[in-house]
Assembly symmetry: C2
């Protein structure tokens, strides 16, 4: 992806600006925010040890992320790059569409959800890595000003027969500030097993 | 999403810079580029009329997008915002991971694919709008310098019994410059029926 033409600017290049703006959007230094009820790597509502290996996961185990506030600016910026359709780009144009107003691209919601998952760290020190996702659903529009958080539940655990790992299926649901589900997805995550 | 602190800059604010950089990445003015074999709204390899309504679609109909070149800068920028894991952020750190080098976030690939779909316009003037996607799969790493394009095929068409619309399922596959499939997804698109 080519960057904007480089011009000498006080404070850095356009690329630096962009990185700075994105960093400002999701400050990496402080994962604790409104709506966060549990520390990363530990299931919600429990005082057990943090999750580290596939073997530490159990069916029904639940996780919760902090909430993240979506702005009109972020919606338009993501859409301009990746989903330039009227209901994601312009308040006035969006009114006449099936969404009856500006709403985030579904792929923007998916990306925000990924970011929140990385903060939850359901597999402790191991990455969120997988072959894909099933049943990705956009359940309701995500509007400017909405605060969405994730709730996750372990729904299937399948140890590999040949490798020291397993496939963990968690169902993640994103809910807004009114408790309405706006998005859900079932990633197929590969998680290492505890060394013997 | 809060923007970076506003500072007076020649050429615009950080937000303008960011929009400019993204616009530069995906120039909206010229959808024709390397790898594009067909005009938007018309199926690949046919001289038929452009698609406009659900009724114009047929099983087996195929579409193809232009190719898009992925850069290390774009990979890192997306990852810093939405998927800050080592194999998406830093060449050196990525070498020691399961991906053996820098690769795009799977959600970045998904977002790029959405952009390419909007350029193909498989439903002509009607938006790409749907309830979700099934069987989203990351099949191979997307590396810096890769040029990926989309190929789509209509695999299911289900008219609504109660509304003047139908659900069109297209399977889209993203391929790199060596013809290797790197990503596939099956969106569930809602497309209006031709007015009686």
């Amino acid at each position: 992806m080519p960057l904007a033409p480089q011009r000498p600017l006080p404070g850095g290049s356009p690329a630096d600006m962009l990185d700075e703006a994105l960093e400002e959007s999701f400050p990496a230094s402080d994962p604790v925010a409104i709506g966060r009820s549990d520390r990363a790597g530990a299931p919600a509502g429990r005082s057990s040890s943090p999750i580290e290996w596939f073997d530490d996961l159990a069916l029904g185990m639940r996780f919760q992320s902090r909430a993240y506030r979506v702005t009109a600016e972020a919606i338009k910026r993501f859409a301009a790059a990746f989903d330039p359709q009227p209901y994601h780009l312009d308040e006035e144009a969006a009114k006449a569409t099936v969404l009856h107003g500006l709403a985030a691209s579904g792929w923007h919601t998916a990306a925000i959800a990924m970011r929140l998952m990385t903060e939850v760290r359901p597999f402790g020190p191991h990455p969120l890595f997988g072959a894909g996702v099933d049943e990705l659903r956009w359940l309701a529009p995500v509007r400017p000003g909405d605060e969405i958080h994730l709730e996750g539940e372990v729904i299937e655990l399948v140890p590999s027969r040949s490798k020291p790992q397993g496939i963990a299926r968690l169902k993640w649901t994103a809910l807004n500030q009114r408790g309405e589900a706006v998005y859900s997805v079932i990633p197929l995550a590969i998680v290492p097993r505890r060394p013997a």
